[in-house]
Amino acid sequence: MISPDTAAIVIDALLFTFLVITALAIVQLRHLFAVVMLAGVFSLLSAGLFVSLDAVDVAFTEAAVGAGISTVLMLGTMALTAREEKKSPHPIFLPLLVCLVTGAALIYGTLDMPPFGSPDAPVQTHVAPDYIARTPVETGVPNIVTAVLASYRGYDTLGETTVIFTAVIAVLMLLGWDTKNRSLARNARRREEDREKGDEA
């Protein structure tokens, strides 16, 4: 018999294993197309992990953003820039050291964390029960995440919307969106190809 707990642990462990493998593969690979695709895979895997951790909204969003939009933008950027990473001549000693020190600090910090999944952790006993108890009474919205997102902490979400707005302003300021640009370029390329064909003939 496999208890639900054990099953959850096995699923977690599998997902984590794949995540780590994907991450290491991304470190190693220099073909950017593969890197971007693996990054998408990483997002999907993490979405799976989020589902197993009860965060369905987050999983949904991560899948849509990390595996969807993010990948599309990365591929688009690749098309505009390069598709192969060049070998870096620099030694990796310092970055490695930085990461090891940071990682060690984080591990040190985890030691006093309440155990994973424990129901009496401060996180579960302060504030959160209030949300769960008050949401049905005060908002009538069954999805507590939505209630907290749009009402209790609606101001954060306004900030989030503003962040997205900031991003588009920034991108438009940097790139503009003059579609004539592209048409012109395509026409130019076509003309060039025609000329080459003409030369061959």
């Binding site: 600090a105 984080l106 040190y108 910090g109 985890t110 030691l111 006093d112 964390m113 309440p114 952790a121 401060p122 996180v123 579960q124 006993t125 302060h126 504030v127 959160a128 209030d130 949300y131 008050r134 009402s151 209790y152 902490r153 609606g154 101001y155 954060d156 306004l158 900030g159 989030e160 503003t162 962040v163 707005f165 900031t166 991003a167 302003i169 920034a170 438009l172 300021m173 940097l174 503009g176």
Partner: protein, 499 residues
């Protein structure tokens, strides 16, 4: 009246999409200017109403904290809000011609939109009483900052890489901040600052809390260019458009300093030993090194804006030094210097912008002999430079005075000597510019554009204010002193009298 705290943020936040929607440069500029002035007025009203030590708490959406997000305004916040909105009010008129000369016209409307967003973000960080909300608004300001910095690419393409590096460093910093926040949340279960403070005081120390503190410290340290984490700053400041540099130099680092002070003193409190040790054994030496190393590097710069940027890193060192004294006087010095340095550096970067406007270069070699044909800008630069050195009757002197007082109070007079010694380095780099401006001959072939009044007046306004606050420091010092008191008595005064 009761909605003032919300209006402070919402006004620029709503003005930004309107600017983008209309999409006309002149309109965007006009609206941004109006909003900046209105914000300034609001921040002054806010400051006046909290000056006596009251704390305004404003519940967003009517949800009481810790369930909802609250604004909490005390003297310190209000002071920082005043710096940010006040500086924006000065920068906006300046930006009109400066931006027109440095950016392509199709970008102007977006530029002012981003500018408003940046201001919103910075003020949002300063006003909020919720730790996670700090992150959200920090990102609003950061994202818009990256884009604004990159806009310098029209003059020098290095602005792009500067912005990119800033983005990488800034995002790593923000992520560190989120990690630290997560750890704090993990041991307390709350995100509200006041609640955090109480829970931390009640639960006591733990390894998770220590690392939470450290990651928050490093995260904000990256944002405020704390010494070894400052590498993004010089390029970002050098290549950004002049108006942006002015704005960033006089507000962004100040807000980051504020956040650091808030977390250290209001949330972790003075009794937290791990913090006190970190301050005295890590922060204090780093601050001293920053003062000397960055000033020394500034001396050898060939570009005026870059020189000023390194000087900013050094000045951040002064502020951190004041904080790491862990005394009322030290904090007063930090807060006073936040304000004074905003004025002085703002004025100096404006002067640099005027030079760029006039000769399209900020290389020190290209500024030879400009003292004679640009008397106003050059004189303004000298005035600002004197403030940077800390010559009496300028605001910089007041800062230095309090910082040294704080050192003497602790009987750390070697540190007092180091403070003055480091300002000698400022003498060198400021004087180098004076020599170039006044004692070199103008090149035969010169093409100097007259600087418009809309740029000169804000610059002089700031510098005259810096002189005014150097001559009559009562207002600033008493405000700073109250702010320091608010931080010192953080766990009792700040948190309990609100509501």
């Amino acid at each position: 009246m009761s909605n003032l705290p919300a209006l402070q943020i919402i006004l620029p936040l709503m003005a930004a999409p309107i600017c983008a929607m209309v999409g006309r440069p002149k309109f965007a500029w006009g609206l941004a200017t109006l909003v900046a002035w209105a914000s300034f007025a609001i921040s002054i009203l806010l400051f006046l109403s909290v000056r006596d030590g009251t704390v305004i708490s404003y519940d967003m959406g009517g949800w009481a904290p810790p369930l909802g997000i609250e604004y909490r305004v005390d003297v310190l916040n209000a002071f920082v809000l005043m710096i940010v909105s006040g500086m924006t009010s000065f920068v906006m008129p300046y930006a009109l011609k400066s931006v027109a000369s440095e950016l392509h016209e199709s970008q102007h409307a977006y530029f002012y939109t981003a500018f408003l967003l940046c201001m919103t973000g910075l003020m949002g960080v300063a006003i909020t009483g919720d730790a996670f909300n700090v992150f959200v608004f920090l990102e609003i300001s950061s994202l818009s900052t990256y884009a604004l910095v990159a806009m310098g690419a029209a003059r020098d393409k290095r602005a792009l890489t500067a912005a990119f590096n800033y983005l990488i460093m800034g995002t790593i910093g923000a992520t560190f901040f989120v990690i630290g926040l997560g750890m704090m949340y993990m041991v307390t279960g709350t995100l509200n600052m006041a609640d955090l403070a109480q829970k931390i005081a009640a639960n006591g120390d733990s390894r998770t809390l220590r690392m939470g503190f450290s990651f928050v410290l490093v995260g904000i340290g990256l944002k405020l260019a704390m010494f070894p984490l400052h590498l993004w700053l010089p390029n970002a400041y050098s290549y950004a458009p002049s108006a942006v540099t002015t704005f960033l130099a006089s507000t962004a680092t100040k807000v980051a300093i504020y956040v650091m002070a808030r977390f250290m003193f209001s949330i972790f409190g003075f009794d937290y030993d791990f913090q006190a040790n970190t301050m005295q054994f890590i922060m204090l030496p780093l601050a001293l090194v920053a003062m000397f190393a960055a000033s020394t590097v500034a001396i050898f710069q060939e570009d005026l804006k870059r020189m000023l940027a390194y000087s900013s890193v050094a000045q951040v060192g002064y502020m951190l030094l004041g904080m790491s004294f862990l005394t009322q006087l030290g904090l007063t010095a930090t807060v006073v210097h936040m304000f004074n340095h905003a004025l002085i550096k703002g004025g100096l970067f404006m002067a640099a912008g005027c030079f760029i406007y006039a000769v399209n270069s900020s290389r020190i070699d290209d500024l030879k002999g400009l003292g004679r044909i640009m008397p106003w800008t050059s004189a303004a630069f000298v005035l600002g430079g004197l403030g940077l050195i800390g010559v009496p009757m300028t605001a910089g002197f007041i800062s230095k005075w309090y910082l040294m007082q704080a050192a003497f109070e602790l009987d750390w007079w070697p540190i007092a000597l180091l403070i003055v010694a480091s300002s000698l380095l400022a003498v060198i780099y400021v004087w180098r510019m004076v020599e170039v401006l006044y004692l070199r001959d103008l090149p035969e072939k010169n093409d100097v554009r007259a600087v418009p009044l809309t740029m000169l007046v804000p610059m002089w306004g700031l510098l005259l204010l810096s002189v005014y606050f150097g001559v009559s420091a009562d207002i600033t010092v008493s405000a700073a002193s109250r702010a320091a008191n608010a931080l010192i008595g953080a766990s009792n005064i700040f948190w309990q009298s609100g509501g």
